[in-house]
């Protein structure tokens, strides 16, 4: 199994490489692109990134494992991330989390994450990366059952 970036991403990479004086700086943006493209970061993707950034494979792996938002294994289930930081907490993220864990943990992978920068719409969660703001248990039922 080999990995290659799709055409749009290749164009993006071309633009990105002009932006940085060192190839090394491409690591984080490329990891993001790979994750967006496949839903997770595979070993092959890291090999590719290691070639593009001229850094040893272990260095890429080490960076990818440092950030909790990078996924290194393919998720069998769809991912729901629920924010647990202050604004969401004050607006009832506990209830949302409980509701998710009790009713949806079979079908979805439920992850607690830190502030996603959507405090204005607290409490919030994401479904496969899409933000759901001012979320209520009822909304969750609608969205998650529809999926």
């Amino acid at each position: 199994m080999s990995f290659s970036f799709n055409e749009t991403n290749n164009l993006k990479i071309e633009l990105l490489s002009k932006r940085y004086p060192q190839k090394k700086a491409l690591i984080l943006p490329l990891l993001w692109l790979a994750q967006k493209q496949e839903g997770f970061i595979s070993e092959e993707a890291m090999v590719k990134i290691s070639e593009l950034s001229h850094m040893p494979y272990m260095h890429i792996y080490s960076v990818a494992s440092f950030y909790s938002m990078f996924r290194l294994v393919k998720n069998e289930k769809k991912v729901v991330e629920v924010c647990r930081t202050l604004s969401c907490e004050l607006n009832g993220s506990q209830v949302i989390k409980k509701h998710l864990l009790e009713n949806y943990s079979d079908k979805y992978e439920i992850l607690e994450v830190e502030c996603m920068g959507a405090c204005g719409g607290a409490p919030m969660c994401t479904l496969e990366g899409k933000y759901i703001e001012n979320v209520t248990p009822k909304m969750l039922d609608e969205v998650l059952n529809a999926n």
Binding site: Y57, M58, H59, Y61, S62, S65
Partner: protein, 445 residues
């Protein structure tokens, strides 16, 4: 110029690192991440000192000396700082020193004895990490014992540039690792074991073989190739057994190998333990041999100058044609330490003007009735037809009459390396059962 360390003046040069000045002058300065040949990294904070005029303690590995710097390495304040750092290092440490192979040469253990807190503040459970992970190339990792000094990582990224090692995860989950399916794989890999200041990296070859405090060390030189890397031979003699060499360690030499060895050289100690038997023990036997007409001798280019000199005199006296041929291995060398010329002292052979011409040697071989082999590998497994073969050998020979002589662990001597550097090596302190070549030739006179 002068600086003042704990009220004692020390001479040093402008622009030197404070930690180097302290180390080179034998001032005790605890440190994990700094290593003289890997340079500074400033991550462990163990090398804190107080500097007059500075509000906070400073790390010695990132401070350059300047005129009249006043340093204190031992105040109560500094000890308190070290105590806290060690407490942090040990928060998740398994404290399995009794079964750890590094015990006795572990910096964490040493420093904790000096500055330890001894009472735990901990009420949460320790973070568990991986144990006895095989990283490849004979290196075993225990992630729980690691202090994350990054020496091993810096070695593979900056020195061998192979980049196999790195840190994964973060915070108290951070640990050293190789990536899955990308094991440690370079011909200098085992250096990380020696670089690791604690028991996180141990050598598959040496672990559990011997407690380090039972070992003695002799200053010697690796005979694996003409680089002549400086080594310590670590050896021990236990009751009712012969002396045994347990490992080679790098001995720092700024001109040659810094603090490193190649894995081949590091493991070549095994040859020194090989047992083989002499087929004769009597000097008289040789005297008989010497009566044979037409003799030719071949000397190993890894013998010391002293041995070669004695052989040369012996051959001249007995009118024996003497040759030495180099050990060349085109597949051995690389662009760092390893060299294709696998003789330890070929430059010495040339200095003594011993003939190294292959053709001449083969011609004299044709005529000769007796071949005397002074430890050259060529004749150990190969028997020229219709000749008598006599070996003075440090290892097993398949044919001929063999007289065992002491190997380089039991000799003092001088070698000249590939860059013309003349170096001495010294014998281990135990008596060797086999005689030394120089003394033997003396007897044969």
């Amino acid at each position: 110029m002068k600086i003042l360390v704990d009220n004692t003046p020390i001479e040093c040069q402008e622009g030197e690192l404070l930690i180097d000045v302290l180390i080179n002058n034998g001032v005790e300065i605890p440190h994990f991440c700094y290593q003289q040949d890997l340079g500074m990294d400033g991550n462990c904070r163990m090398c804190m000192v107080e500097i007059k005029g500075q509000k906070r303690p400073q790390i010695a590995c990132d401070t350059f000396v300047c005129e009249n710097l006043e340093v204190s390495t031992k105040s109560e304040k500094i000890n308190e700082v070290k105590r806290s750092i060690l407490e942090l290092e040990l928060l998740n440490h398994p404290v399995d020193c009794p079964i750890c192979d590094q015990a006795g040469e572990c910096k964490l253990q040493d420093y904790y004895m000096d500055y330890g807190l001894y009472e735990s503040h901990l009420c949460t459970p320790k973070t568990k990490k991986g144990k006895h992970i095989d990283l490849g190339s004979n290196v075993m990792l225990d992630q729980e014992r690691c202090v994350l000094c990054m020496r091993c990582v810096r070695f593979t990224s900056n020195i061998t540039k192979t980049g196999e090692l790195g840190v994964i995860g973060r915070g108290d989950k951070a640990k050293i690792a190789v990536a899955p399916n990308h094991p440690l794989n370079n011909s200098y890999a085992m250096n990380v074991v020696e670089l690791c200041p604690v028991g996180a990296l141990t050598s598959k070859d040496f672990r559990f073989q011997q407690r380090v405090w039972f070992l003695d060390s002799a200053k010697s030189i690796c005979h694996g190739c003409s680089r002549g890397c400086n080594i310590f031979i670590d050896y021990n003699e236990t009751k009712y057994t012969d002396e045994k060499v347990y490992r080679f360690r790098a001995r720092r030499n700024k001109e040659i190998n810094l603090s490193f060895l190649c894995d081949f050289g590091r493991l070549s100690y095994k040859e020194l333990n090989e047992k083989f038997t002499s087929s004769t023990w009597h000097v008289e036997t040789f005297k008989e041999y010497l009566k044979i007409e037409k003799k030719v001798a071949l000397a190993s280019p890894s013998l010391s100058l002293q041995q070669l000199q004695a052989i040369k005199e012996f051959c001249e006296k007995n009118s024996i044609a003497l040759y030495s041929l180099p050990y060349v291995d085109e597949s051995f060398g690389d662009d760092w330490l390893k060299i294709n010329d696998r003789s330890a002292n070929f430059a010495g052979v040339k200095e003594l003007l011993i003939s190294t011409c292959q053709n001449d040697f083969e011609n004299s071989l044709k005529d000769a009735n007796l071949i005397i082999n002074f430890d050259h590998n060529l004749l150990k497994s190969h028997m020229p037809e219709n000749k008598q073969l006599l070996h003075f050998s440090t290892s097993k020979c398949d044919y001929g009459t063999v007289y065992a002589i002491a190997n380089f662990a039991h000799e003092n001597g001088t070698l000249i390396n590939c860059d013309g550097i003349r170096q001495e090596y010294y014998a281990t302190k135990y008596r060797c059962e086999t005689p030394r070549l120089v003394e033997l030739l003396e007897e044969l006179k």
